[in-house]
Symmetry: C2
Subunit: 337 residues, 2 copies
DNA sequence: ATGAAAGCGCTAACAC
DNA sequence: GTGTTAGCGCTTTCAT
């Protein structure tokens, strides 16, 4: 392995001169820098990160902490961030939490000890106190979910709107009994989505009844069960809105299995716009979320923040708006479609 | 930050004793180890990786190098590996190549200089010579694709079989003109899949004509165009087999857009089993690939290999078998289904 | 404008 | 069984 010393020996100068030249120190003559650059390139010098880190410089590692990378939401984010950060010489590391606070803590511990440059995290519902403490010592940005005790830097979507839009759409179509199958309110996103649902109902001035089924956002089974429950109610809803990607998958599966006719018997609105949603039955009406753009914005901001020497702790929030994509799965109640 | 010295000072012993106790060195008394463990835990000691790495120990980073994490194939792999490696204290880093050899080279350079413990890679078609050289210096395992110049350790699926099965299935249904829309033969997987297609045709003893359309495995557009071309042939095929996940997506989209009736006008068999394939039209006949199992096996092997002090370079290949999942999209030609 | 030297936290060879 | 010491490659005073 070529070290700074080797270059120094070759150029008959001291290691510190080479170090400074490489660091573009203003005290070094342009001529010297030139020569050092040349020889370094020629000899194939690669800086030893470990040694740098020992001197307090943080690594080029950026930790991405998400519930489950198989969720297209998060793989989209990973892709966009990876692209963004790679250009600036950062390396993305992947940690999955399963939405479990203890797993989350372990991962954060791991990242702290690896001296990561920063962490981009989709926090769990109730991060452990130690998690909060550790994150407090590391530059971090929250994605999608926003926990009050963590960084004031956050990139998310307008979750309330993401549910308000489809619910409102159904109300306008004339539905008066609407079910919402979505995430627990203990998650900040869950709470906002639920609020979106309730606000939309309220906008109908009490004319419209809501049925709420809340469960873990990662559980497809919960959504299947919930739909079954809701459909066997004495007065079943005429429409259902889902509040997470996996809940949408669960509901779609269950509808196929149970042979409910959509939109004739039931209108359905989904969450997030997977390519396959176009195919489902008559096409699934859904809210499209600018996840990729959001992640890119987050990545750019992260890089920007890292570049300024001073601690860039200024609060910053970016809220991306969802858009409604209307397809065949929503119709006026009892329409003969 | 708590260091080994702090613990030593507190216990009135030398730093090396503490270091050895922490490393479970046989020369240290059990009593001492006990005390050190205790105090370390109490003081919240976290080993400084940078310092360790400076002493030549490789990092706990494992590089995962894939074309695109948004592909469910690769996110499934990332998930399984992450689970496996995390338990052993490894941290997974994510690098995307876009199937571009220069990007791949950059990523591998990055990983080498980060002193990763190992690399798990889905290599591009023709890795750069430098990529091969660098990988030669790092423990690595090939996943899915196998390049001859790289490690002899490889975990993949039986690609030939993955296309043979659906093609044979179509032949048995009575199809005599079958199109294959799949990956370029320059990729090892592409070549194997194409072979599977041809072998299946050959098994029909010349009774069956094949139409081949080969393109980049990551290009949905290619598949859409290819399907369009194939369907406007003077003698269009009565069935189509796809040879990559994204090609399948492309074909399915195009079929919806063009209003071709499946399986009446055309039978279709897909690649890999995405949840949404169940929903597509009459349900998509497809080959299920044990990707998650494969990745887990790879992860276990990696850990095993890292554990033995000696260079574990013994060649090892594991080939996982695909299985055919028959749904409504394949029927005898001209069936009134 | 450049050099010398100390030291980051840890490990390992060498004492005792 | 435990202590001493040197040194990994780099940055960073402090000299010159």
């Amino acid at each position: 392995m070529i070290t700074i010393k080797d270059i120094a020996a070759r150029l008959q100068v001291s290691p510190s001169t080479v170090g400074r030249a490489l660091a573009d120190d203003p005290r070094i003559s342009a001529a010297m820098k030139q020569k050092v650059q040349e020889v370094a390139g020629e000899m194939g010098y690669v800086a030893n990160r470990a040694a740098r880190m020992m001197r307090g410089v943080s690594s080029n590692l950026v930790g991405l902490v998400v519930p489950d990378i198989r969720n297209s939401f998060y793989s989209t984010i990973a892709h966009a961030l990876s692209k963004c950060l790679e250009q600036e010489g950062y390396q993305l590391t992947l940690s999955e939490t399963d939405d479990d606070r203890m797993t989350e803590l372990r991962q954060i511990r791991e990242l702290s000890s690896a001296n990561v440059a920063g962490i981009i995290i989709v926090p769990s519902a109730k991060p452990h106190a130690e998690t909060i403490r550790l994150l407090g010592m590391t530059p971090h940005i929250q994605l999608l979910r926003k926990h009050a005790a963590l960084s004031d830097q956050w990139f998310g979507i307008d979750d309330a709107q993401a549910i308000y839009l489809p619910t409102r759409h159904l109300i306008e179509l004339g539905h008066r009994r609407i079910a919402y199958i979505g995430s627990l309110a203990e998650l900040p996103t869950g709470a906002a989505r639920l609020k979106g649902f309730r606000d939309a109902l309220a906008s109908a001035g009490g004319a419209c009844a809501g049925i709420e089924e809340l469960g873990a956002p990662g559980s497809r089974e919960f959504a299947q069960d919930a739909l079954r429950r809701v459909l066997t109610l004495p007065e079943p809803p005429t429409a259902v809105v889902t509040g997470s990607v996996l809940h949408t998958f669960g509901v779609l599966e269950e509808l196929l299995d149970s042979g409910v006719s959509v939109p004739k018997q039931l209108s359905v609105a989904g969450f997030s716009d997977e390519p396959a949603f176009r195919w489902w039955g008559p096409g699934l009406t859904t809210v499209a979320l600018p996840v990729s753009e959001l992640a890119t914005a987050c990545g750019l901001w992260f890089v920007h923040r890292m570049k300024q020497k001073v601690a860039g702790n200024a609060p910053y929030s970016a809220i991306s708006p969802p858009t409604l994509v209307v397809r065949g799965s929503t119709q006026p109640p009892g329409a003969s479609a």
